[in-house]
Symmetry: C2
């Protein structure tokens, strides 16, 4: 585990990224950062061990040739364009569940914007205690701690904001269009690629913390998935045939989420609502909604309301507000 | 820390409590419980070290002379008249915060009714992150984990149920009448004796766990309190001049809480509402309500609504619903 503020290593990477067309001399780096040549050399070696390809030519210096597709703490932090989200980064090479860790950290006072992240989650869980399995090193599990000054009943809207941020980020980085399935799945061609899990800690009627968890299948091959979920799960690599820069995807999600979140606080939910609905796969379709009392409602998905509840019109023309259910598109 | 199911020690105490008018032979205890004479002797010694006074007369056996006023794990468990609450008991000789521990245990799946308890809490907290200080060994800090099938907006009502349970239990055990100050304090003669802190963990729109924390001043003398709070804090001992059986108070609170909770689930909030209002010190009085935006509302406290919000009528006759505030009675 590493609680990170920007370390010398990250500052070096920052310099390399900003000078990738030329070589940077070790001396120049030393002068700017005020550290020794040996320290620079050590940090360069560390970056190489994290998958950064760095050319070192005597008398000319260092040049960054490529960044890793794998998740990298340094790569997430360097160039992160947010004010708060992810700036307090807690990166694990491997962990049971980022969501559980984030719950504990939130309880212990972790600040707004803290991000817990790994590409190797061993006991992840989804909604309703279901298991969320993720091929090692080929996906992202992350949990974001927020401390919003919002009333309890507005918190479910944050799941919808997160979904819009993910959809925008994936299109930005990969060009792939994804769909949102209410309340918390991101689909491509009908298969699940991302799951979002929003949890909350309250005290009386005050919201103390919201933890938004995301599990994302990025660079898994079809055969990496357990056989029983191959027909329903997918990844970006399965779709495109190539690996994608996982750290860049995280940076981009955080960027969009912060932007949408600030607009939401300023302007309310309506601005998010239309964006969400324009990406939602279920809206305007006939669906089955399996409620948790076992009842199944069938009808037309009309949209979502201001609280983020799904509006379903049954065959008698009555509108049902659905707060929690499994949705099947017919 | 001890996660407790009823152990041989508790069974022995049970037998002693049920035969306090006579001596119980070591052999009889062995026969009933199927353990050795040496084991019985060891458990008796352990109970003595916990403050139970036990007479041992050769050839006649053991007799319980008195139980400790101090909090005791065995004393809480033996004779506990609940189905679920407190049956899963997690007792600490000393701990930073029972509420924090309970939060972590709830996240890790602790069952409905789990009680985390201590009489020595070192870093307790009250509402809004305020410090709750407690003289060592002379008060009770406890946190109860519930897993109710209720909607999020009903959870604040559980604070009010807890308050009624505490008021009833204190009267039962000590004869002292206490008052409830909305939302979460129990007062005697205008001074605070008990604070209640209700926190919740949710997932989407589902309640995963509710943690009800209580801090209670029982056997502290006036001088045990830090000087700056002596004018606002009190204890049962300060009022009566004698120590009270802390374990019995816990047992009685759990008993009433379970009873009221089951009635609440069956019959709804109205049955609790009138009990709460009949003990509430602020109802019918003029109050100042300091909201968390700094605004102060002044007016008549009319009662609580079905959600547990305080209803304040201002001088213009408008009714305000107050969900969270500090209340000052004028």
């Amino acid at each position: 585990m590493a609680i990170t503020v920007k370390k010398t290593k990250h500052k070096i990477l920052d310099m390399l990224l900003n000078h990738s067309d030329t070589h940077l001399s070790g001396q120049k780096i030393c002068d700017v950062l005020g550290c020794s040549r040996t320290a620079v050399w050590k940090h360069i070696k560390e970056l190489e061990s994290e998958g950064f390809k760095i050319e070192a030519i005597q008398k000319r210096g260092y040049r960054l040739l490529s960044t890793p597709k794998e998740l990298s703490e340094a790569r997430i932090l360097v160039g992160l364009k947010t004010k708060e989200l992810g700036q307090h980064l807690i990166y694990f090479d491997s962990i049971g569940s980022t969501q559980k860790e984030a719950q504990h950290l939130a309880e212990d006072g972790a600040p707004h914007g803290t991000l817990v992240i790994t590409s190797h989650q061993t006991t992840g869980r989804g909604r309703l205690g279901r298991i969320w399995s993720m091929p090692k090193g080929k996906g992202i599990a992350m949990s974001l701690i927020l401390r919003p000054e919002l009333s309890i009943n507005r918190i479910p809207q944050l799941t919808l904001i997160a979904a819009v941020a993910v959809v925008k980020a994936i299109t930005d980085v990969t060009g792939i269009q994804t769909d949102i399935k209410w309340p918390n799945d991101i689909l491509v061609k009908g298969k699940k690629m991302v799951g979002i899990l929003t949890e909350m800690q309250t005290e009386g009627t005050n919201v103390k913390a919201v933890i938004i968890g995301m599990g994302m299948n990025i660079n898994a091959d079809k055969n990496d998935f357990p056989e029983e979920i191959r027909s329903i799960a997918t990844s970006l690599k399965t779709l495109t045939g190539k690996s994608h820069d996982m750290s860049l995807i995280v940076q981009t999600i955080l960027f969009y989420f912060e932007d949408l979140y600030m607009r939401y606080l300023d302007e309310g939910f309506s601005v998010i609502k239309w964006m969400w609905e324009s990406h939602a796969v279920s809206i305007g379709k006939r669906i089955n909604a399996r409620l948790f009392n076992g009842k199944v409602l069938t009808g037309l998905a009309k949209g979502i309301d201001e609280e983020g509840a799904l509006l379903l019109e049954d065959d008698q023309g009555s509108i049902h507000k659905i707060y929690s259910a499994d949705i099947e598109i017919k």
